[in-house]
């Protein structure tokens, strides 16, 4: 197809200022249009590329939408049973202490079925990096209520909205684990705008640099959208996320250099 506004004279390899990293496998992602997983994957791979540690990195993917992350990330990976990624990562890091080890998990995986593994890996201060994608819903199984689903939020198993009296409250697992002494760096980010993406990438870089120094567990939550599960367009879902998710899951650093950051009180 002829491109109307192409400036063909500058389309030369030496003028490329951004392209998808080769550490992303060149195949279509299985994610829905507009889903933050793809961006989170790419930022992680960009950091590995910039640090030149891909050959020393072992990743663990979860069960959930990103179960096939190992098909997209061009590094050695293991697919864990549902919720068990931190247990795998614990053993891998202990057995390969000079390697970089990360888990990539969703909210159901990390904060429901895998709560015990998450908390104990954090509490032991394993020198691993946990990347936690929180979209407040079980995307892969068809939009069921997640541990992080907001009060009143509709899902296929809370069709009239999450009733906290009978269904429990959303679990702020990131704040919860931030209080554990084994955890060194905790931050909450997003990937829906260029600025947020840049901050997320910086956070991932910081976490992996800290892993090199054996500082303890680093935990990055990425609040993301699930336009299919939320039944919105991608653009609507990003707006809804800003208006509803961010007030509850406030973005920013929660623990830095092993010290908790005082967050402004919300109502």
């Amino acid at each position: 197809m002829e491109e109307q506004f192409a400036k063909t004279e500058i389309r030369k390899p030496e003028n490329i200022v951004y392209k998808k990293t080769d550490l992303m496998v060149d195949r279509p992602l299985s994610y829905c249009p507009g889903c933050g997983h793809g961006t989170a994957h790419r930022m992680l791979m960009e950091v590995l590329e910039e640090m030149d540690i891909a050959d020393k990195t072992i990743g663990v993917s979860p069960v959930g939408c990103s179960v096939l992350a190992y098909d997209f990330l061009n590094i050695d990976m293991l697919g864990a049973a549902h919720g068990r990624a931190p247990a795998l990562a614990t053993a891998i890091k202990r057995l390969w202490p000079n390697h970089f080890v990360f888990t990539y998990q969703g909210d159901g995986d990390l904060a429901a079925i895998g709560t015990a593994e998450t908390i104990h890996a954090c509490n032991r201060g394993e020198n691993i990096t946990i990347i936690f994608i929180n979209n407040g819903i079980y995307g892969m199984t068809g939009g069921q209520m997640a541990p992080t689903t907001l009060p009143g939020m509709r899902s296929s198993t809370s069709p009239y909205g999450r009733d906290v009296a009978t269904m429990g409250h959303p679990l702020k697992i990131t704040e919860l684990i931030s209080h554990l002494p084994g955890v060194y760096y905790v931050t909450r980010q997003a990937v829906h705008t260029p600025n947020h993406v840049r901050k997320t990438k910086k956070a991932i870089r910081k976490a992996l640099e800290l892993q090199k120094e054996n500082k303890g567990l680093c935990f990055i939550e990425i609040v993301s959208n699930c336009n299919s599960g939320w039944k919105m367009t991608p653009v609507q879902s990003n707006k809804w996320m800003e208006e509803n998710m961010f007030p509850f899951y406030q973005l920013g650093d929660i623990k830095v250099d092993g010290k908790l950051i005082e967050l402004p009180k919300t109502s």
Partner: protein, 360 residues
């Protein structure tokens, strides 16, 4: 000749793991096998050989730590007892599906449920028939002495890597707790990371620029692909049946009757054989050492020469199904079992032979 020591069965497991060059033990305390991790923590193999020992938060975590370690090509071990092994079934199924080498020790106690802490053989079905979901088997060894507890650890690691499969050592609380003399094999050096990378080209331990990325998973969403995985596993099990069967025959040549028993029951039946022969009853003992693969042809050969078979187990009748399938229906086959943690006496077994087989 190796070093001679007086040890508990559980301690022999632990010492054998260190000496076999094991890279990591991950476990959770449960009676009657807690001495495995206690011995390891006291022995500090992290200083002796560099082996990692970690007390996990649960059996679920332990087995998934095994999965993680095994997926990178490391030699990993866990041990537990019946309720804990039940919790591990999901992970064992994943290990089988992803074709990962790992050794799991079950020091069986009586069930069901929380049951008892006394010895039992009631986990035969679970160990031998798969245990978790999906079509798979673990290679299963049934040691009958502390010496075999030691030797089977090394054997189990060898076979786990040869077949890329989970291997279970199915023992019980009595063999785990009892002390016997044991000849320990010499220390095998732990493999270096470079040796592991060479030995396990399939493992996910960091992708060099020279190869494609390795993926450890038991997932294949394409039914044709998943069928291929299953066919590959089944071919592997047929190979095991051809090459890995182990058994022992005691006084079977002239036997009119036969005991078939594994593990602790076989130890008891050995005494029962002597007692019966002293009474003029010519009885032999067939002891399967591998429970999967089951010595089907071998037990059939012996079984079809005798007038009757008593299968003795510390359960309500589990291995007897495999004995019946193997021997067929021409020979009378009965079961004698005590369960819930009761260990049968040699006299009881002889009496059962007389009542159920000879007189029956």
């Amino acid at each position: 000749m190796g070093e001679l020591r007086l040890m508990k069965g559980n301690e022999a497991i632990a010492e054998a793991a260190i000496r076999a060059g094991c890279d990591g033990y991950f476990g959770y305390p449960i009676t009657p096998q807690s001495e495995v991790m206690e011995y390891l923590m006291a022995e500090k193999p992290f200083e002796r050989t560099g082996m990692v020992v970690l007390q996990a938060e649960s059996e679920t975590a332990s087995i998934n730590m095994l999965y993680g370690g095994a997926g990178t090509g490391k030699m990993v071990l866990t041990s537990s007892s019946s309720p804990g092994i039940s919790l591990m079934q999901e992970g064992i199924s994943y290990l089988a599906g992803a074709e990962l080498p790992a050794v799991i020790v079950n020091i069986v106690r009586g069930g069901p449920g929380l049951g008892t802490i006394q010895p039992s053989q009631a986990d035969y079905f679970q160990a031998v028939k798969g245990g978790g979901h999906g079509d798979y088997h673990s290679l299963v060894y049934a040691p009958a002495s502390v010496q075999e507890m030691c030797d089977h650890v090394k054997l189990a690691f060898d076979k786990a890597f040869e077949y890329r499969t989970p291997v279970m050592i199915l023992s019980d609380g009595a063999i785990g707790q009892m002390m016997e003399k044991v000849v320990l094999f010499d220390q095998v050096p732990r493999r270096t990371d470079e040796e592991i990378i060479k030995q396990c080209p399939w493992a996910s331990n960091g992708r060099p620029k020279t190869r494609n990325h390795n993926i450890i998973t038991s997932l294949d969403l394409d039914p044709a692909g998943q069928e291929r995985v299953n066919l590959k596993l089944q071919a592997k099990y047929r190979e095991m049946e051809k090459n890995e069967v182990m058994y022992e025959e005691i006084m079977c040549e002239d036997a009119d009757y036969l005991f078939v028993a594994f593990g602790l029951s076989a130890r008891i039946c050995q005494k029962s054989t002597d007692l019966a022969r002293a009474k003029g009853i010519k009885v032999g003992l067939f002891r399967p050492i591998t429970l999967f693969p089951f010595p089907a042809i071998q037990v059939s050969n012996v079984g079809n020469r005798v007038k009757g078979i008593l299968v003795v187990e510390m359960n309500a009748g589990q291995m007897i199904e495999d004995v019946k399938l193997s021997v067929g229906c021409k020979v009378k086959i009965e079961h004698f079992g005590r369960f819930g943690g009761i260990i049968p006496s040699p006299d009881e077994v002889v009496k059962a032979l007389e009542q159920k087989i000879i007189g029956g």
